[in-house]
């Protein structure tokens, strides 16, 4: 670096420094107010990002994240060789695709139906019932499974007995589970999504409906030509959020409903569940974090990808 440039840099920094300090000073209270959240995010989000190096280490608890010896790509080799990765990724993806599709149809559909109902009181009651499961934790879903689908005393099996059909043992038989999982997801989520869409419908300009009525539109035309097009922005935003998280499974639901039941894992195992199991059994923490990193990268790519596409199609709808 030439002497001249050095001097210039020095004067520049001398010039910058007080002004920077001054700004800090001026906003010191605002900066202080940021400290709790910034500290929280550094500790619980950014440090675990550094902790990704665990995926490349032979982790042991005594030496900790930084002290454990390196292990190269062995954790990943182990993960790929286990042969589970493809089916886990596929399950996570397909279940989420099913949840999103069924969810969209039920949520938007019921919002439109409920909105058209003329009996206000009936409408309110139906809405309250549909919203109820949203408030309950997945733990309670286990009790619901017992009451409805239980092998010995469940309602469904009583009906099957009545018709002389064979009993359904859902704790052993994996076949009904894809439907059950979609069912429980819809059971818990429809009420909430429906209310988001109902709020969007309430925001539609009433004059459009009046104009449609004057033009003699029937109810179907009103729904498909006015309500549905007006819902598109809400639908798109809900879809972006959902598609961005398509490789992130609903751990709570899968853990409570499938859990560690070996008979069901082939059909109901997802990445989140696998990472948890590998970690909880503490047999191979390194591999568990490798699987977690694999999932994080998939999620990141998916968010960036959806956002880029949405940005290209319609800038206003993109997240960032």
């Amino acid at each position: 670096m030439s002497a001249k440039a050095k001097i210039r840099k020095q004067t520049e920094s001398d010039f910058m420094k007080p002004s920077f300090l001054k700004t800090v000073c001026k906003h010191k209270i605002l900066l202080l107010m940021l400290i709790p959240a910034v500290a929280y995010v550094i500790i619980f989000s950014y440090i675990p990002m550094v902790g990704i190096i665990m995926a490349f280490k032979k982790f042991n608890y005594m030496d900790g994240i930084f002290g454990s010896p390196w292990n190269g790509l062995n954790n990943f080799n182990f993960l790929f060789q286990s042969g589970r990765l493809w089916s886990l990724t596929r399950n996570t993806l397909l279940y989420n695709v099913a949840f999103i599709t069924v969810g969209l149809i039920l949520q938007a559909g019921f919002a439109i139906i409920i909105n058209e109902l003329l009996l206000k009181r009936f409408r309110k009651i139906m809405q309250s019932f549909m919203f109820l499961p949203f408030f309950i934790s997945w733990v309670v879903a286990v009790a619901v499974v017992q009451v409805i689908f239980g092998y010995d005393y469940g309602i469904i099996n009583k009906f099957l007995d009545f018709f002389g059909a064979q009993r359904l043992n859902i704790y052993v038989d994996p076949a009904p589970w894809p439907f059950l999982l979609v069912f429980f997801n819809a059971w818990k989520g429809t009420g909430y999504g429906m209310i988001v869409y109902l709020a969007a419908i309430a925001g539609i300009d009433q004059e459009m409906y009046e104009a449609a009525e004057i033009d003699g539109a029937n109810i179907w035309q009103r729904i498909f030509k006015v309500t549905l097009p007006s819902l598109i922005p809400t639908i798109v935003i809900m879809m972006i959020l959902a598609v961005g998280g398509i490789f992130r499974g609903d751990f709570g639901m899968f853990f409570q409903l499938i859990g560690n039941n070996g008979a069901l894992l082939e059909i109901g195992d997802i990445l989140d569940l696998y990472v948890y199991r590998a970690m909880a059994s503490s047999s191979n923490i390194g591999m568990a974090s490798a699987a977690g990193l694999y999932q994080s990268i998939l999620c990141f790519i998916m968010v960036m990808f959806t956002n880029a596409i949405v940005k290209r199609v319609e800038r206003d709808y993109s997240l960032f």
Partner: protein
């Protein structure tokens, strides 16, 4: 004249048909949503004999309070679990509200020079995460979360999404207000507490309900960090009851347990009773909670 008015009010045929169809469909789905709760509730009052004979029923043949008697015979664990969940919910929700609105307020200030930098700093954590394993290792090995109440509070205390919602809400308030308060000599902290917080009550109600519900329904953090039975949350207690009595039942059917008392337990109705005891408060407060949720949802629907 009367006739014409009447005809004008008459519901068109297509609307009527749609209403009949819509009412039936939504009634069916509403029943699908609500009946499981009814079944759990009513069968918690069934006698174990009826249940074993007839299975779960819409109206049990024989009613009995035995399940509740057993649940409340040793109420210590239920009460501990209740105490833990209530304390954690109250502390967690208030701290969480404070953090998200305070951060949202700073980032909403147009004269704060680093607001874009910090917004990105927070937002990035929603895009990428280190995953469960490094986070868990950090919490247990370095932060001492094992069997510590902070393990039930800290993991859910700050949500970037809530912060963004708060930021957008506060940005919608008139900025001149803050400026005039500054002219009057109020500092930024005072502006936040005296001026901004009182204006964000609808926001606080919505975010508060979401957060409180998250804390109330949390079993995950208890599962990860708490082994001490007296420190577990209510939902995790329910989880253990639902699954571990399953374990006992398996043992009984293979004839490996000799405990006589186990056989006299009304196991299945007890599960229902425990579920009712834990879910009760939410169902009880439901009409109130629901009204605020529906009102507040439009606040949450603002784009980041």
């Amino acid at each position: 004249m009367m006739n014409e008015k009447k005809r004008h009010k008459k519901i068109p045929r297509d609307v009527l048909m749609f209403n009949i169809f819509g009412s039936v469909v939504s009634f069916v789905f509403a029943m699908v949503c609500a009946i499981p709760f009814y079944l759990i509730f009513i069968n918690s009052f069934a006698s174990e004999d009826t249940l074993i004979r007839n299975g779960y029923e819409f109206i049990p043949q024989e009613f009995s309070l035995a399940a509740y008697k057993w649940v409340l015979r040793e109420p210590a664990r239920v009460l501990y679990a209740y105490r833990n969940t209530i304390c954690v919910t109250i502390i967690g929700t208030s701290c969480s509200l404070l953090m998200s609105t305070m951060t949202g307020y700073v980032l909403s200030r147009k004269d704060f020079p680093w607001r874009n930098f910090f917004s990105l700093f927070f937002f990035f954590t929603t895009l990428f995460s280190g995953g469960l394993v490094p986070w868990y290792t950090l919490c247990t090995r370095y932060l001492g979360f094992k069997n510590n109440y902070i393990a039930l509070i800290l993991p859910m205390i700050f949500s970037v999404w809530n912060m963004i919602i708060a930021k957008n809400y506060i940005r919608g308030l008139p900025y001149e207000m803050i400026e005039s308060a500054k002219v009057d000599g109020a500092n930024d902290l005072l502006i936040y507490f005296k001026l901004i917080l009182p204006l964000t009550i609808p926001l606080l109600a919505t975010l508060g309900l979401f957060t409180a519900l998250g804390y109330w329904n949390d079993w995950y953090n208890s599962m990860l960090f708490i082994t001490d039975k007296n420190k577990q949350s209510l939902q995790y207690f329910l989880h253990e009851m639902l699954t571990s009595s399953q374990v006992l039942k398996d043992l009984a059917s293979s004839g490996q347990t000799e405990e006589l008392e186990y056989y006299t337990l009304p196991k299945d109705t007890m599960r229902m009773a425990i579920t009712c005891v834990t879910v009760g408060p939410i169902i009880f407060l439901y009409p109130f909670i629901q009204r605020y949720f529906v009102k507040g949802l439009t606040i949450g629907a603002v784009k980041g």
